[in-house]
Symmetry: C2
Subunit: 300 residues, 2 copies
Amino acid sequence: MHVVVIGAGAIGSYVGGALAQSGHDVTFLARPAQYEVLRQHGLRCDKVTGKQSVSVKAVPQTQDLKPADCVLVCVKSADTEQAGRDLIPALRPDTVVFSLQNGVENAQRLESVTHRPVVPVAVYIAVSMLAAGHVVHHGGNRLVIGQAENSANNAAFFAQAGFTVTVSSHIMTVLWEKLMVNCAYNGLSALSQMPYARMMQIDGVQDVMVSLVQECQTVASALGIPSSPEIMENLFTITSAMPEQMSSTAQDLRRGKPTEIEALNGYIVRKGQELGIATPANQVILVLTRLAEKSHCLAR
Amino acid sequence: MHVVVIGAGAIGSYVGGALAQSGHDVTFLARPAQYEVLRQHGLRCDKVTGKQSVSVKAVPQTQDLKPADCVLVCVKSADTEQAGRDLIPALRPDTVVFSLQNGVENAQRLESVTHRPVVPVAVYIAVSMLAAGHVVHHGGNRLVIGQAENSANNAAFFAQAGFTVTVSSHIMTVLWEKLMVNCAYNGLSALSQMPYARMMQIDGVQDVMVSLVQECQTVASALGIPSSPEIMENLFTITSAMPEQMSSTAQDLRRGKPTEIEALNGYIVRKGQELGIATPANQVILVLTRLAEKSHCLAR
């Protein structure tokens, strides 16, 4: 299949690389610096099981994209609308568009720009970029795909590339639970630059995470999104599963790059304001992350 | 008069230096590194009006202290009990003990250790240490002294050294209002490493400060401490008065030193827990500052 990946960050590189390795024809729409590396050296992926290298195609400009069987949107939430406009040259009437992004609104935002259905995918994979074209896999390999017309094909497509795939008829609940986990972990890990296990040992951290998730649950509930009673238990198992992991927000602040905080805690604060629900804990995390983005005080 | 100053940090150095300059015999109880500098070079103070140098005495050990007319406690809140034990050799029956510290409990904590009355002083002076024995004055010169038996003498003592002095019969309210301002400013400035004026321009910062102060007011009110209706207005005038200032907590994190956060937002969180009052905004600031202390992610 001809696959287009919009965005050559950690998730795009890892998933696109796995699809290329399983025999698909994968083209990245990448920024100039990434484009040059991908074109010359292909994609490098360091896994626990060994280091791999795979040839991929890359184009620097949207008009160079060719119609594809499917498109994976793997950009940060702030760039969703731009990605939607960029991917239009890759669309045929039957092209399937997936959103592999954090946050709960991105598929809908892509639908508004592209005027076609977009399948949300919740991604449970810990990866980070070592350099352009060089991704490191820390753990996790699971995708939850939103139910759609051709769900069986979609699931098989990712499963054949080695992913553990579930199709969910409650993808919004799944995305919301991932959002809650991100709201609890990302800012704390980012502002402390600490891996999860060490962070969890500090007095009060677990209380703060519970406050953050409770505010999220109140907002979700007001929006008619049920959240499972196990969310609080699941919250702390992530640390045992990935003790050395730092959040993507932590990686962004360290690199002096903008974070996704506006689509995470920022989304909860905005929805809370619309609904008249106080979200003070999420607001402090949001504002401190904005401050750290602007001051570059954590950039190395 | 023979004056003993416990602690040669920014406030101790600035106030002790001013008292020495006005003719008093000032002895610092200082840590070894500070002691050596004070003994050899005296105290340097950079003011807007010029640079000054003044001879002071210093001792490295509490048993070297001699009975004094008054003792100024100028240590961080975490060191209050130790300071109370240290100052005992400086006490005569008529020695006046002042606490020039942040927080609202320190005078009382000193009284428990020394078994004598301690006069709380609220300090409105922006100073920082450039190096051991070298203090820089950024602005403000005001002291509010708690009413006591010999208030007129106490006021004259500080006024003659150039301070603007008020005696207050509501010193707990005054200390609480200073605590609220510290709860609003210190953590945000510390975690962002931003001066006040720049910090205040970031979207949401003022909302967070209002949330922090409202939680403080709820706790204060439950403890029977009235807070003045102007506190919210006063909150933002500090930025116009000291646009380039960064909080003492910001200076501590940058130097990799422990902060006073446990006596500021931490005090509000503890009292809130005792009283069954939720203080989520203060709790996030507290926990993030603890994390930054432990990770040294802001140390330079």
